[in-house]
Assembly symmetry: C2
Homo-oligomer: 167 residues x 2
């Protein structure tokens, strides 16, 4: 990987061809948005539970491919973010897939450390259920379903350095 890839929109990846080439071809030609990011979804490789949603720029994607450990781009902090660098909850990527138009990737992962992918200490960022088949309104109440925290964020992240909420 060239270090110049950290700011280039397409990084070290192939240029995008026609829609048919992107959808049916074998070239990995990821599409980054205007800000230089693509969407990344991480699921538990064993259970299929969605653990987190975040963004990758070309550098984060290249480092993820090279190391097999998930790297993201923190939009709020404006920098590369090796997941778990502070908490120890690294994400070991078992498999990476790209979608039809190659503007999103799916990571099947195993979570290291305390086993928590969420900065709140929980296994998954998606620990609250939204009611369905009801009118959407300002008073819609979510229900916690995702279990208790696996670590104490206050003890792990120095004040003011808490990472993004998965985005």
């Amino acid at each position: 990987m060239s270090t110049a890839a950290s700011t280039a929109a397409s990084g070290p990846f192939a240029e995008r061809g026609s829609a048919r080439e992107v959808e049916e071809g074998t070239a990995f030609a990821p599409k980054f948005d205007d800000a230089g990011n693509l969407a990344a979804v991480a699921t538990d490789a064993d259970t299929g539970e969605v653990l987190m949603f975040a963004w990758m720029n070309a550098d984060a994607l290249a480092r993820t491919i090279e190391t097999g450990q998930a790297h993201f781009y923190s939009r709020s902090r404006g920098r590369l973010w090796k997941k778990g660098e502070e908490s120890g909850n690294l994400l070991e990527v078992v498999e990476m897939r790209t979608d039809c138009d190659q503007d999103a990737v799916w990571l099947r992962v195993r979570v290291g450390g305390a086993g928590a992918a969420c900065h709140t200490g929980r296994k998954s960022c998606f620990y609250r259920s939204v009611p369905l088949r009801t009118g959407a309104s300002v008073s819609l109440a979510v229900q916690t379903v995702g279990g208790a925290p696996l670590f104490d964020p206050a003890a792990v992240y120095p004040s003011g350095t808490k990472p993004d909420g998965g985005s």
Copy 2:
């Protein structure tokens, strides 16, 4: 749901409070980006396979909640998009979850019709695997892993109306 919700960034949903309220509270207060959308990930409710990634504006989110059928916002077509409206492959939402900072939702779904969530005819949009623990380069080749198409897109979508590649 007010019809005015289709353009409002927050739609009929609660205003967002402090980070702690958003992360630990019970109010559903989704965060839409500058374009008025939030990220939506759909997985097979039974197997955990990620089926597609797309966007929802406030109107799409409200209709999904009200009907229990997945609606998205098509950024390329600039309109509300009831998933499966043309193909018949509706997504019945078994459960919806929101993440810690409430800027993404996870839909656990069952796919109707031919059982294909992807506009290419495949069950999942994520039908290609990206090699790992190798140098990222322009010649990185993906491998098809997601199975054969379940319907023929050319027979389902009139020319020029093919929906977004899940985004």
